[in-house]
Symmetry: C2
Subunit: 322 residues, 2 copies
């Protein structure tokens, strides 16, 4: 993904080194376990968005760097906790912390990364209190989204509104905060950071919907984890909600999607029903609407290279395969 | 424990109501799961210490209340995550969140409570930045302690220094922060809050050592959970380290303590070896040294009712049975 980050390549390399430095400790086991996901790679979308947001004001990498690192730490913390919850064995093509060291280490490493982010964020307190106010609020809502996802699992009577509620909390809010707070960290005015926030919300929603589509249609090798994971866990995503309403085989799909123990054949059958009724195309349309709105928002910003990069990121989200 | 909190009973009732209010949400399931541990009771030691610390300066409950609530939320978060890690089924005599709703809800509720505490703490940022700096640092170190505990489990070649390293991180730092930051929240001078910090460190160390003793000798009904839990999980505590060095049956104890799967008879046999070699008396002596130091520290503070209550708390820690 680094090739997408036109004009901020050097900034991103510095952030990457800083992330690595923050995870370095005196305790080799702690360093190994807490850096494991970091070394597995990742798109570093949230740090990139924070830097791009910061480009619309008095950009100074030093001002935005702690935030950029903190955002990736928060993101990694949620992934590691999710892998505990879902018993996931692979992520980004390698064993999860959970698979390698068990749920004990995994639970504490997730919280550790989250707590590490707070040390970085606390640097902004006196001068930019909005940053920790927004991030603490977002963190609470992210948990609310995850809890709602579990309590709504296997529930086939969901409507798109339920789904969008969760998507916003699970993913869109942190992406929104990234681009908004990057601007705040460098002293942006309210109008600028509110525009960036709207852009962020739109790409954030699109990002998660695409993720949910990819869970049904991706190439497993590129995805780095098995397809159909959401169905197996009973997570009812947008294509499923569409298919439950529109497919000729909706009764059969309801039976399969609501079933707690599914065989591999049943997962594949459900995927086939979802794919063959236009649910994927419909979901991509929804994604594209969000991405169009995101790009419209950008028009209110000055025509800087960062604006072009933000537009490229929006385009990438629409076509990504991983 | 409320009867111990002389002179702050009303303040504690207000904090209790505030805790309840903070856990109230629009989502009944979220409210139920996140309040479950709150309703199970607890000593509320950390809020009490923060209020008592605040009494040594310009006391105003409104200034310390968000901190008091945040401290209990952080504490509850760690208990709920610990129950995921340890697969614990009961705490405070009732089923854990983990037992009742599974590790998914439990993992996210733990993080949710932690994140909720951040919203409260963010109120202090502009005027008392030390509060979030200390708490973010403490949170990181608490995770370090937990991770070290897992990586050192079943390791019978530990020395007391390894144990004290973990005890400080697991328990003493948050107790220390409670009494210190309570004073900071109400504008205490550096000399006062450093004295309170030393008091806090001493009672905090004593508190965890007592906890580890109780895990071997308590009445199960009063403890609210089965005895011998640490041994079963391979956690090597001070009485075990003492017995591994001094007991006539130290080879047998080493065999038992290092064994990953222990029968109930083996756990009882290990407890008997530990009890019969003076390890419990020795551990109580260590506890009492910390408590004496804690009370000595108090002598540097003005002779207010709060000072007496802090001394009573220190005494209670030495004799508590739960």
């Amino acid at each position: 993904m680094l090739e997408l980050y036109n004009g901020i390549e050097e900034d991103m390399q510095i952030v990457e080194k800083e992330l690595q430095a923050v995870l370095q400790t005196q305790d080799p086991f702690l360093t190994e376990t807490s850096s494991h996901l970091f070394y597995a790679g990742g798109k570093r979308l949230r740090p990139a968005l924070s830097i791009l947001g910061a480009k619309f004001c008095n950009f100074n990498l030093e001002d935005v760097k702690p935030l950029a690192v903190a955002l990736e730490l928060i993101h990694m913390a949620t992934l590691i906790h999710d892998d505990v919850v879902d018993n996931s064995l692979t992520r980004r093509g390698i064993p999860t912390v959970n698979a390698k060291w068990g749920k004990g280490i995994s639970t504490h490493i997730g919280t550790y990364l989250f707590a590490k982010s707070l040390i970085l964020i606390s640097q902004y307190e006196e001068k930019k209190p909005l940053i920790s106010k927004v991030l603490s609020d977002v963190s609470v809502k992210m948990c609310e989204g995850e809890i709602r996802q579990i309590s709504a699992s296997y529930d086939i009577d969901q409507v798109p509104k339920d789904y969008f509620y969760r998507v916003k909390r699970k993913t869109a809010l942190l992406i929104t905060a990234s681009v908004q707070l990057g601007a705040v960290a460098c002293g942006a005015d309210r109008k600028t950071y509110l525009t960036l926030r709207r852009y962020g919300n739109n790409i954030g929603m699109a990002f998660q919907i695409t993720d949910d589509i990819l869970d049904l249609v991706a190439d497993q090798g590129k995805l780095g984890k098995p397809v159909g994971g959401d169905l197996r866990q009973g997570i009812i995503t947008l294509p499923v909600i569409y298919a439950l309403a529109k497919s000729g085989k909706k009764e059969r799909l309801a039976e399969l999607a609501g079933k707690i123990e599914k065989s591999e054949e049943e997962v594949q059958e459900a995927i086939e029903i979802i794919r063959s009724c236009g649910a994927i195309d419909y979901s991509f349309e929804v994604t594209n609407k969000y991405l169009s709105k995101a790009k419209e928002e950008l028009m209110a910003l000055p025509d800087l290279p960062a604006r072009k990069t933000l537009a490229i990121i929006a385009d990438f989200i629409g076509i990504r395969k991983y």
